[in-house]
């Protein structure tokens, strides 16, 4: 187990290192400087601004400074907001994103499990069909379309919820719903498939033969075993939430990381793009590692070994 962990952490660091390197050189290939109104500046002013961002040094030196900075928790200065550190920018915007992501994950997974379980228990009935339609729609309707529709019909037209902004719990409801659709659909599909298998296994037959109630069978036997492989969904769901948050935060003007990321992309704020890229990758890598560890703990059949596969 220890050997396995060390190995995984080594690969995690290697991955992040490669991501940082690739991002750095991709960004260096691109045109654009932090200089605004370039024509009006005198050469000495230009030099001063470039020096502030460390752009006066050769590229290889910038690279080592950047990589070294990451270890110290620094991701450089933002082009867009002069003098603001990227790490500060990310840190100050993490709250709303994490809250939205967390809420969407909980709602999506809980309702997804219910939907999937209903579909599996009442297989091939109208309940199953409705559950399937909801989950397939959740996959087919892109989050940005759903967000716009929710904003218009539940926000603007009926006035039930605030249209946009970030001033309290009420403001989180619509973005959470828009984000939760995709985890809900994924979970429901996953649970349904898995439970159909589980429900036809021998130990469920036995439980039925013992005279357990239907609810008892599902709750105590089927659901628990179906939930174990659910753990592997955490990674993909988190990645889907990151994707979703970029547009959903923008549509509802939530001051989160996703919104900042899109803005940075549109104004070519390279240090921020790099910073957020590395942050997202690190988050996903850690989540994937945790997933594997948790999976190994709750399902003893999975053995974590240090060698290859």
């Amino acid at each position: 187990m220890r050997k396995y962990l060390l190995k995984r952490i080594f690969y995690l660091i290697l991955t992040l290192f490669i991501v940082a390197t690739a991002t750095f050189f991709l960004m260096k290939l691109m045109p654009g400087t932090p200089l605004q109104n370039e024509a009006k500046l005198t050469p000495s002013e230009k030099a001063a601004i470039l020096a502030q961002y460390g752009l006066d040094k050769p590229v290889w030196m910038q690279y080592f400074i950047y990589i070294g900075g990451i270890f110290k928790g620094s991701l450089g200065l933002s082009f867009q907001f002069s003098d603001q550190a990227v790490s500060y920018l990310i840190g100050s915007r993490m709250g709303p994103s994490m809250q939205l992501g967390g809420q969407a994950m909980v709602i999506g997974v809980v309702f997804g499990i219910i939907l999937g379980a209903v579909g599996a228990i009442r297989k091939d009935t109208w309940a199953d069909r409705i559950a399937t339609i909801i989950s397939i729609l959740g996959i087919a309707v892109p989050s940005f379309v759903l967000a716009i529709l929710l904003q218009f019909y539940l926000g603007l037209k009926t006035g039930w919820f605030p249209v946009a902004g970030w001033q309290g719990f009420l403001y989180t409801i619509l973005p959470t719903l828009a984000l939760a659709a995709s985890p809900l659909a994924e979970t429901a599909r996953f649970i349904r498939t898995d439970m159909v298998d589980v429900l036809s296994s021998d130990y469920i037959e036995l439980a039925r033969a013992k005279g357990l109630s239907k609810f008892g069978i599902v709750y105590h036997h089927a659901l628990r075993n179906s939930l174990i492989p659910m753990v592997t969904l955490i990674g993909p769901l988190a990645a889907a939430l990151m994707t979703g948050s970029m547009v959903v935060e923008n549509i509802f003007s939530v001051p989160g990381i996703g919104e900042q990321f899109v803005k940075s992309i549109l104004v070519n704020d390279y240090p921020t793009i790099m910073g957020v890229t590395i942050f997202y990758s690190a988050l996903l890598c850690v989540l994937l590692l945790l997933t594997d560890i948790i999976y190994g703990i709750i399902d003893p059949r999975i053995r974590l070994s240090g060698n290859g596969d």
Partner: protein
Amino acid sequence: MADNPKEYQIQPGDFAPLDKQAGPDNEHIAAPSLTFGQDVWRRLKSNKTAFTSFIILVLLFLMAFGGRAIYHQNPNEQAPRYANLPPKIPGVNLPGFNGHIKQSGQDVDAYAQAGAGKDVHYILGTDYLGRDLLARIMYGTRISLEIALIATLIDLGIGVTFGIISGWKGGRVDLFMQRIIEILSSVPSLVVMVLMATAFQKTGMASIIAALALINWTTMARLTRAQTLQLKNQDFILAARTLGESAPKIAWKHLLPNLSSVIIIQTMFTIPNAIFFEAFLSYIGIGISSPQASLGTLINDGQKNFQFLPYQMWYPAIVLIILMLAFNLLGDGMRDAFDPKSKR
């Protein structure tokens, strides 16, 4: 002779040939023998949802690639005079299709207001520059499909080659190649695509295709590798090797046909994924740029006027949703058709 069975001697003359046509033929195969492909097709046809999806997809493809042969409007022709006109189908008097629109609570004939003659009508209305929305949707669907299909084809090439080599070679090569996949797949795909799209700034289709191709192949590579590992120890591969067949030829002649079902099923899920990400990138403004249009840019354009002219976003969004639905449902159906054992 008959008294003593032991002495019974069988003579060739005791046998008479039976009439072949007379008796029931046990060897007769009643149903025509089906090839694998025919079998899959038969199972797919019996799956109503999947077959409907298939028909819908065929229609959408026809509309996207051949629609202009019937509907001659130019998707890029601007007519500022006729900007933001609602849908109007001549002879149809249904709300939403009669060219009327609600303005400050009143029902107004938008076409009369714009001073359009009797012969002017746009089936799905016009956008903010007076471009025909139906023509633009057909055009946008074509671009979306082209991007998704080309990207998927590249994915397929890279993924299958990578997977077969990795699985076939085994050992160190395999270990190294698996690490590459592991590293690539622990980077959020969205981030890779945003980086690629920013890196190739505004070069349109090519950059999106490159971005999509770069991230989606890992799943395909994993699946092919796993299958190859199983197949390579089977006897027919061993036989081919013993006969001195070269590795590329074995891969082409023996592995690929056996991998085809896995590849086709995975492709059916890669395409909607590519469509989604293309729409996503175009929507946030780093994908296709004008004068080209894709479903994502159309939705983005339509969204600006959603409050007053909801049809401008609804129609492209509906096409996108139907496309995603049909591909996903057909994919599910194909999985069942190719692998009846995994009946879900």
